[in-house]
């Protein structure tokens, strides 16, 4: 067959609307590197998703009221080299900044909160910690020597 103009399933005026029922795309919510306004949420999305796709995804699957979506593609560096001096490419990814509608705000939660390190009373951890502290205390030199080592003396 001679090579004719091949048009992929692009949307042309009059086509039925393209619907995807079970998309194979997954969005990742990330903490923004630069400070964003309170109504902006930052996602890492697959490269094939467009702004309209992201909006429809969030509105229809997660019922999130989306105001505006802006995307950019982050180039993954190709500068590092391995032990064979071959260039190693970090993968490219698309970042989407989604502004929420209806005055909603979102702030990225603290995923690794600082925990209190005091162990409970009467547990193994407490006894272990106490034992280690005693050992460290025994290793220290006599404080009356004022920091002088034991090389000298009798």
């Amino acid at each position: 067959m001679p090579v004719t103009r091949v048009l992929y399933p692009l949307y042309q005026l009059g086509n039925p609307q393209l619907r995807i029922f079970r998309p194979n795309w997954f969005l990742t919510l990330v903490r923004p590197g630069k400070e964003q306004p309170p109504d902006t949420v930052q996602f890492r999305t697959p490269m094939e998703m467009t702004k309209c796709d992201i909006k429809n995804y969030l509105v229809n699957i997660y019922n999130v009221p989306v105001g505006a979506v802006r995307t950019r593609i982050q180039f993954g560096s190709n500068k590092k080299r391995n032990h064979r001096n071959q260039k190693i490419k970090q993968p490219d990814y698309k970042v989407a900044y989604v502004q929420l509608a209806q005055g909603q705000t979102f702030s990225f939660p603290d995923v690794f909160p600082e925990k209190d390190k005091t162990p409970e009373e009467g547990s193994m951890e407490e006894m272990e910690q106490k034992f280690m502290e005693d050992e460290k205390q025994r290793q220290k030199l006599d404080p009356r020597r004022g920091g002088v080592t034991e090389w000298f003396g009798l």
Partner: protein, 431 residues
């Protein structure tokens, strides 16, 4: 003949010793040592030298005439944020309020809200007629204006047969000419009531530009990395039409009363808004060049383009952004216009305005009219001058008011007299 004189071996310093004792009872005039003032160097590689260079530049600008002032301030081109009055960005009005140090006050100033009470209080004979008159324009004048407005509406929407507009060109094709005809007709018919219009200038599709600095950022990359840099902004506006007058409009509130207003501060970088940076000529323009006698502004008229029309926003479920858009548009356009007017009078960053500059704007999309009043109290917005500046600029504004419902069978249905009255009052604003 030194050998002939009999001089002592030790040559005395005072010779003869008692010659000056005549003046023994007077004290010698004590002259204070006059050293030159200790000022930092001009050419050294130090912060104080840089400070002195900046001071010298500021004094040079203060001492020069207005044309040179403008050219010295806008001489150097650097990357700046371009602020668009009609923007797609969400919640643009809070951002723009921070950039221009403007406080938004909902509703119009007392001048426009108190007059209906004065009308009904004074004329008690015909309360129905009193409601449809404007102080300064009689009942007949108002009916004349109403007929003019109906004529203009019918001209564009009923009598003229336009071909189907191209995509997103409907406002440009229909409402643009409607607004132009309205403004020209109204300014002509109100010239007999408002003497300011006799020597005023009506511009069609003028250019308004303004350039200013506000705030500081740290330069992230480059040979100047880590140092502080002022953020620069530029507004390039194209209102539909504007009226410029020879005398300044009176202020709405005194300068001191603006100290109490609150401006919303935004600590984030403007690029997050989103706002983009470019480098090109820094322009300051009111709509006419410097020697023009009509250098003060009266009213601007803006058109809402198809992209931001309320029907399209309703389709995209962003109806709440319509009012935000109108406010942001009025804020930036009026700030640019009043700022350029102040610039033409010689006020700039380091020489703050001594009197407030006042202008008005009407933004419309054909059916819905919003009225805004702006008072510029300060131009000193950069970091050094803003540190102890309690003055704020003020913007008063209304929600959108519908002028008419529809045009049917050659008749304008539901013409709202209140909106017309407000429009006439706006144009009647004089000394």
């Amino acid at each position: 003949m030194a050998a002939r004189t009999r001089l002592p071996l030790l040559f005395p310093k005072n010779l003869p010793p008692f010659r000056n004792q005549r003046l023994a009872h007077t004290e010698a005039a004590v002259k204070e040592p006059a050293y030159p003032p200790i000022i930092p160097s001009l050419t050294a590689k130090s912060k104080s030298a840089r400070g002195r260079q900046v001071d010298e530049q500021v004094q040079k600008i203060c001492a020069s005439p207005v044309e040179e002032k403008i050219s010295l301030i806008t001489r150097i081109q650097r990357m700046k944020f371009v602020v668009y009055p009609q923007t797609f960005a969400r919640n643009a009005d809070t951002w723009y309020q921070h950039f221009t140090k403007t406080a938004y006050i909902p509703g119009l100033p007392e001048k426009y809200t108190l007059s209906p009470e004065r009308d009904t209080g004074g004329e008690e004979e015909q309360p129905a007629a009193a409601q449809t008159t404007v102080p300064g324009v009689g009942h007949d004048g108002f009916t004349e204006i109403r007929s003019l407005v109906t004529r203009v509406i019918l001209q564009e929407h009923w009598q003229l047969r336009n071909r189907a507009p191209f995509l997103y060109r409907k406002q440009e094709q229909t409402v643009g000419p409607f607004l132009r005809n309205l403004v020209t007709g109204l300014s002509f018919s109100l010239a007999k009531y408002n003497p300011l219009f006799l020597s005023s200038s009506l511009d069609i599709d003028p250019n308004v530009h303004f350039y200013w600095r506000r705030g500081q950022t740290i330069i992230p990359k480059g040979h100047r990395r880590g140092r502080q840099e002022p953020t620069r902004f530029q507004i390039d506006d194209r209102p539909n039409s504007q009226i410029r007058i020879t005398e300044q409009l009176p202020q709405f509130i005194s300068l001191e009363d603006s100290y109490a207003a609150e401006v919303q501060e935004v600590t984030l970088s403007p690029s997050v808004m989103p706002l983009f940076r470019r480098q090109y000529d820094n322009n300051m323009f009111t709509g006419a060049k410097l020697p023009d006698p009509a250098c003060y502004g009266h009213t601007q008229f803006h058109l809402v383009p198809d992209r931001y029309h309320r029907d399209r926003m309703a389709r995209l479920q962003q109806s709440d952004q319509v009012e935000v858009f109108l406010r942001a548009n009025a804020l930036t356009s009026l700030f640019a216009w009043t700022g350029a007017q102040a610039m033409y009078q010689g006020f700039w960053n380091h020489e703050d305005v001594t009197r407030p500059f006042v202008s008005q704007a009407v933004i419309t999309d054909g059916k819905f009219f919003s009225f805004f009043c702006y008072q510029l109290n300060t131009v000193a917005l950069s970091v050094e001058t803003d540190a102890n500046n309690p003055r704020k600029n003020l913007l008063w504004g209304t929600e959108s008011l519908q002028l008419y419902d529809s045009v049917q069978d050659g008749e304008v249905v539901g013409l709202n007299d209140d909106v017309l009255k407000l429009l006439v009052q706006f144009l009647m604003n004089k000394q």
